[in-house]
């Protein structure tokens, strides 16, 4: 567990707020935690595996002990078996189960743990996934099945737990940041013949561009937003 303090050099969307970043070993978790600290949050990183609801509740409760209360839980989950590119017909049944089922259950258990933490006073949950999930990619069927499953689960949770003041949203990040080991995967190109995408001319950076949006989702300014998907790809596919 890593505990960090606020960085005072930027605007403070999360001043005085407390965040848990549970990214299940994905490197992007560290970068996003750093980014949340730039916004004044005290952010704890938890890499504990969520193999059960009890595991998740225990890990999140341990992390929350550092704080009076938790305001934001940021989560990402994809086991290593999901982070390999290969055709579906070359996938073993064991790899499929690990890639989609165990990863998905980690997200289910994390959301349940977040519900235990936040149901009394509300709060924000942000699940991060690869933006490629919105368009699909050859060789990545397990990962992108998982990611779209996580995105729909976030919507269902948002509908069920809104009455508790809980807001749950999904943020898509470029695949090379979500899973650097897949940087060479054949991600489809948007069929744009004008200025080369992404429209902003660069891929958003996790520590700044992505963390800024997550910080905003955890702030009072996003109090009216839940069940939404934010695709932070710099203006690449511009999905409907």
């Amino acid at each position: 567990m890593v505990v960090g303090f606020a960085d005072s050099s930027v605007a403070s969307l999360l001043a005085g707020r407390h965040a848990i970043v549970a990214a299940q070993g994905l490197a992007i978790g560290r970068l996003l935690a750093q980014g949340l600290r730039r916004h004044g949050a005290r952010a704890i990183e938890s890499d504990a595996p969520f193999g059960s609801k009890v595991d998740a509740e225990s890990a999140l409760a341990d992390a929350a002990q550092e704080f009076d209360a938790v305001d934001l839980v940021m989560h990402a989950a994809a086991l290593p078996t999901a982070l390999k590119a290969r055709p579906l017909d070359a996938l073993s049944a064991d790899d499929w189960r690990s890639a989609v089922h165990r990863s998905m259950l980690a997200t289910l258990f994390c959301l349940q743990g977040a519900h235990s933490l936040l149901r009394k006073r509300g709060g924000s949950v942000v699940v991060v996934g690869p933006s490629t999930a919105l368009v699909g990619a050859a060789g990545l069927v397990p990962l992108l099945t998982l990611a779209e499953g996580q995105r729909s689960l976030v919507k269902s949770a948002a509908r069920q737990w809104g009455r508790h003041g809980m807001r749950l949203n999904w943020v898509g990040v470029p695949l090379q940041h979500y899973a650097p080991m897949l940087s060479d995967a054949p991600v489809p190109m948007v069929p744009e013949l004008g200025p080369p995408p992404p429209a902003l001319g660069r891929v958003p950076e996790p520590r700044t561009d992505v963390a800024d949006v997550i910080a905003w989702l955890g702030s009072e300014g996003a109090r009216g937003i839940t069940g939404a998907s934010f695709n932070l790809d710099g203006g690449d596919w511009m999905v409907p």
Binding site: E148, G149, S156, Q160
Partner: protein
């Protein structure tokens, strides 16, 4: 419109289809529609008796079909049945993965109470079924030259329904599966799509019988004013997607729901 045009008669002449979960509901409607369009249909399901009922309905209209007992969560059983169907009719062109395990009651499922067992009960049918059907069907669909792989999704997966979060997540995951597999199998000439139906199935009727007020409110949400019929609305859409008329459509998630979901 004449009857041939309405049923798509002849559109799928000579084609062979394998439909999972075809012992009732939408799956039965799809099997009937495919057979009426000229396809030979493997009617598959966990209970042979319900598949036999579907076979009886199809054969009564002169259709060609056979029943196969298959649990799509069983990789070996799926492969055996797909190979048997392909042997019986000499080819396999169409795989419709319709099997699902949904809710047992009309009571909303509280996400905080969902267990690992709840997950696997539904996921082994929906997601493992997708995997098993795709892996076993690939050699046949590749050889077909007009291969079609269709997954039955759900409006639940589009808007993230609160009623059954596990089902919503699984149907949402189907989107990622279909989009990615379409990109993977395009080189083989196989189209991969999902249909998101809203149909008046037996479970839906049970739910509405228990919640009549919900039924009236729900029906008002449909621009067309009614839920779809498994055969004539959902089945015919599958026929169209399997025909040469829609051979250039792939990687899509198509709501067939009377105009219910328009947020795409």
């Amino acid at each position: 419109m004449n009857e041939a045009a309405m049923t798509g008669s002849g559109l799928l002449a000579g084609r062979v289809a394998f439909v999972t979960g075809a012992g009732g509901g939408i799956g039965r409607g799809i099997a009937q529609a495919l057979a009426a369009a000229g396809a030979s249909v493997a009617v598959t399901g966990r209970r042979l008796s319900t598949c036999d009922d579907t076979v009886g309905l199809i054969e009564a209209e002169g259709g060609i079909c056979a029943a196969f007992e298959v649990d799509v969560g069983d990789e070996t059983a799926v492969r055996r049945a797909i190979d048997a169907a392909a042997r019986r009719w000499g080819r396999l062109d169409i795989l419709v993965q319709n099997a699902n395990a949904g809710m047992d009651s009309a009571v909303p499922v509280a996400l905080e109470a969902v267990t690992e067992e709840d997950w696997y009960r539904q996921a082994r049918v929906a997601w493992d079924g997708n995997l098993h059907c795709a892996q076993a069907a690939l050699p046949h669909l590749r050889a077909s030259g007009v291969g079609r792989f269709i997954v039955l999704g759900s409006a639940f997966g589009l808007h993230g329904a609160a009623m059954n979060p596990v089902y919503s997540a699984l149907k949402g995951g189907d989107r990622g599966f279909v989009k990615s597999l379409a990109r993977e199998w395009g080189a083989h000439g196989i189209t991969v799509n999902a249909i998101e139906p809203a149909a008046a199935t037996e479970p839906a009727e049970v739910f509405f019988a228990q919640n009549p007020a919900v039924r009236a409110a729900y029906l008002r949400m449909f621009p067309l004013g009614r839920m779809g019929a498994p055969r004539n609305d959902i089945g015919r859409a599958v026929v169209a997607l399997c025909s040469d008329l829609m051979g250039y459509v792939s990687g899509q998630n198509l709501p067939v729901d009377g105009g219910l979901y328009t947020a795409l």
